[in-house]
């Protein structure tokens, strides 16, 4: 019983690691493409400005896209 439980626990850990790795890869791709990173922003607010109001995902997206493309992003030839 205990062994089986440990095996399940190990498998769960592996799956978690795998999703963790996948999430990291996705996040890296997102940031390479210059997409907004809402989770990163929430973590930043929690770490640096605890207690300050945090934008919703919709508001954050609007602000981010306007800041990044509002002036016309510099794209090379």
């Amino acid at each position: 019983m205990r062994e089986a439980g440990q095996a399940i626990g190990r498998a769960g850990g592996q799956a978690e690691r795998r999703t963790g790795r996948f999430a990291r890869l996705l996040n890296a791709l997102r940031r390479i493409a210059g997409m907004p990173d809402y989770a990163g922003y929430v973590a930043h607010m929690a770490g640096r400005h605890p207690g300050c109001p945090v934008l919703s995902e919709r508001e954050f997206y609007d602000q981010y896209v306007n800041a990044r493309y509002g002036n016309g992003a510099s794209r090379c030839c």
């Binding site: 890296a28 791709l29 940031r31 390479i32 210059g34 896209v65 002036n71 016309g72 794209r75 030839c77």
Partner: protein, 688 residues
């Protein structure tokens, strides 16, 4: 082993690896040098390039980082000091490398080498590899460094603060002029690839509703879910590509999507205007995500294709066209090889990206080396791959696609005959067969580089997969190039619009308000009219347009690189390191020689194919003789004079910039002026 001997062992092995890399690179150059006259494999080009990049990165960029610039891990970067979770965000080295690379890479490094292949693959390859190690990568690195030390300021702001207000103003005007020419020439490349091609037009048109749908999804339906929208968008893009084949094959649908150059040019102008006034979330942002993923994916695919197939280079190493008689564009090897290939060796445009978003995201100062210098080496490698793809084509096929229709005559038979007189054999059946294989009626005279690159890529991908997929791969490559050229068009029109609005704001305040619709519409219209004029001029040009516009673009881009190198030299001199100023002065001197020589020849050369003024005189003579109708002739003459004027303005600007920079340098070096830099003061980093 004792600790001391282990250290010596590691040191020794490290040296050994670098000696090995240097020998492999040198050996590859050796094969290239002695293998002339016979067909060699693309493998040697790739090996020579990569070997040179590695040695350049390991030794030269290290010298720049430690001795010249003095990167300091203990100094906090703007991303660390000003971290706001949005644009100032400390970002991991490799993620930022990818981001920076995706921002600097575009159609330029793909198209330039293809056009320059008319001289053979050798001159372009040498320039791409050594130009980047000693010039382009240095420029990107120095500007990235300078902007990072100044809270991510732009090139124009830095030119103004470090050299003077006149230089700053000239830089702004130069950027605007370059933008107009760049957009015109890129739009011309797309127009030539899409004219009379229902498959291409259909799949590119589909990208617009796909992008609108993605924008709507990310804004309204599931806010901020950019990845899922992009994945669905990408799948739809591929579906549009496959559907294009059936559209082209259908007797009812094909005529709807078959258009000539002028119609496509107008469509591009309307699109550019719409994209400039529409909200960014609707069109610009989703297109940018799509084209970034397409770009990275295709570059990786191309690298794999070339490394797996290692195609033989069928183009000669050097062709007879180094004498200036080439059909793709006029002019001798010097200076025209060096302005035709701009991006890939050195590109002034990168200075805008290196002083844009990237410096605000660097986590540690030390990362600037791999991102600035390394990112540009990567772009240069893309240019080498484009050169391989073009040189792997049968030279006869290459010239059939890239020479203007006016030179080739309208039929495959006349084209094959004409190409035969240049010393390359190609049969009419070969030409019509190839067009059929890629799903087009004709490939003749599709100037601009994109179609021949697409044929080269399709050739490589199809031999790695299945030959019946040739048409699909061709249109995949066309769509990929057109997609990110269109992204440059809409982003560039918007940048131009903001610059104009800023200028107008000095004249009358309300015109400077970027949210005021009349001002937005006026400025957008003016920018589109600017590049649209040159685009239409190029489409109607009997010599194919690329012949006159690409050199103008090359000259203007190298001029901007000259500005960036002047600013970079100023950083170095003001930091009290004038003894190292040659790292930017040497490439600057070369660029000036190239740009001024090319500009002079484009204006004053007596050959009507090369010199704008000679072409105007030639046309006037033809009008007098009655072989050109007066209205068309008058238009051609006006355009020639306009192009000559533009080249002249570029040359005068570069000289004026140089003089004002030299004045500043001498004042600092002689101690007449204190070496005050506008760097942000030192703050200790918490990461180090």
């Amino acid at each position: 082993m004792e600790p001391g001997s282990t250290a010596i062992y590691i040191w020794f092995m490290g040296r050994l690896v670098w000696v090995g890399i240097a020998i492999v690179g040198a050996a590859a150059w050796g094969v290239i040098a002695v293998g002339r006259g016979e067909t060699i494999s693309a493998a040697w080009l790739v090996l020579a390039a990569v070997g040179t990049y590695l040695v350049g990165y390991r030794f030269y960029s290290r010298f720049l980082a430690t001795r010249v610039l003095g990167l300091d891990a203990r100094r906090a970067t703007p991303a660390e000091r000003l971290n706001n979770g949005r644009d100032f965000v400390p970002t991991g080295r490799w993620v930022l490398f990818g981001h920076h690379f995706a921002a600097i890479a575009g159609a330029g490094p793909l198209v330039g080498p293809v056009l320059a292949a008319q001289f053979g693959w050798l001159p372009g390859t040498i320039w791409i590899v050594f130009g980047v190690v000693l010039g382009g990568a240095v420029q990107d690195f120095v500007i990235l460094f300078g902007s990072m030390r100044r809270d991510g300021k732009s090139l124009g702001q830095m030119a103004k603060e470090e050299i003077g207000p006149i230089t700053g103003m000239l830089t702004m005007l130069a950027i605007l002029a370059i933008m107009i020419i760049l957009l015109a020439v890129l739009a011309l490349v797309v127009t030539n690839a899409l004219k009379d091609s229902p498959w291409g037009v259909f799949s590119l048109l589909c990208t617009i509703p796909i992008a609108l749908g993605m924008g709507f999804w990310m804004k309204v339906v599931r806010p901020g879910k950019t990845v899922e929208a992009s994945v669905v968008g990408f799948a739809l893009l591929l579906a549009a590509l496959v559907a294009g084949r059936y559209v082209a094959g259908s007797a009812a649908l094909a005529p709807l999507f078959t258009h000539g150059g002028v119609a496509i040019a107008w469509a591009l102008m309307i699109y550019g205007f719409a994209a400039s006034v529409l909200p960014v979330w609707l069109l610009l942002a989703p297109r940018d995500y799509l084209s970034t993923f397409m770009k990275i994916g295709t570059v990786v695919l191309l690298a794999i294709g070339i490394l797996v197939i290692l195609p033989p280079l069928r183009m000669p190493a050097i062709t007879r066209f180094v004498d200036g008689t080439g059909p793709v564009f006029a002019g001798k090897l010097f200076p025209f090889a060096f302005i035709t290939i701009a991006c890939g060796a050195i590109s002034g445009f990168h200075a805008l990206v290196s002083s844009g978003t990237t410096p605000k995201m660097i986590r540690s100062e030390l990362d600037a080396r791999v991102i600035g210098y390394g990112g540009m080496l990567m772009e240069s490698f893309v240019a080498i791959m484009a050169m391989c793809a073009a040189a792997a084509l049968d030279p006869g096929v290459y010239f059939a696609i890239n020479a203007p229709l006016g030179t080739l005559g309208g039929t495959v038979a006349s084209a094959a005959q004409k190409i035969g007189t240049w010393g390359f054999t190609v049969s009419p059946e070969q030409l019509s067969g190839l067009a059929g294989q890629v799903g087009e009626k004709t490939l003749l005279g599709r100037v601009g580089g994109a179609p021949s690159l697409a044929v080269g890529m399709a050739h490589i991908f199809a031999s790695a997969t299945a030959s019946r997929l040739m048409g699909l791969w061709y249109h995949f490559a066309i769509m990929f190039e057109a997609l990110f050229i269109l992204t440059t068009l809409d982003a560039g029109t918007r940048v131009g619009r903001f610059m104009l609005q800023e200028l107008f704001g000095h004249l009358w305040k309300p015109l400077g308000r970027t949210s005021w619709y009349p001002s937005t519409i006026l400025a957008s219209l003016l920018v589109v009219a600017g590049w649209g004029y040159f685009l239409i001029q190029g489409v109607l040009d009997p010599l194919g347009g690329i012949n006159s516009l690409w050199p103008l673009f090359g000259i203007s881009n190298q001029l901007l690189a000259g500005v960036a190198l002047c600013v970079g030299t100023t950083f170095i001199i003001k930091a009290g390191k004038a003894r190292y100023a040659w790292v930017t002065l040497a490439p600057l001197a070369w660029l000036l020689a190239v740009t001024l020589a090319a500009g002079w020849q484009k204006i004053f050369a007596p050959d009507p194919r090369l010199g704008f003024l000679a072409h105007a005189r030639d046309t006037a003579a033809k009008i007098a003789a009655g072989s050109v109708d007066p209205a068309t002739g008058a238009r051609l003459i006006f355009n020639d004079r306009l192009d000559a004027l533009l080249a002249g303005i570029f040359m005068v600007t570069v000289v004026a910039l140089l003089i004002s920079s030299i004045g500043e340098w001498l004042a600092v070096v002689r101690g007449r002026k204190p070496a005050v830099m506008k760097e942000t003061p030192f703050v200790e980093s918490a990461y180090a």
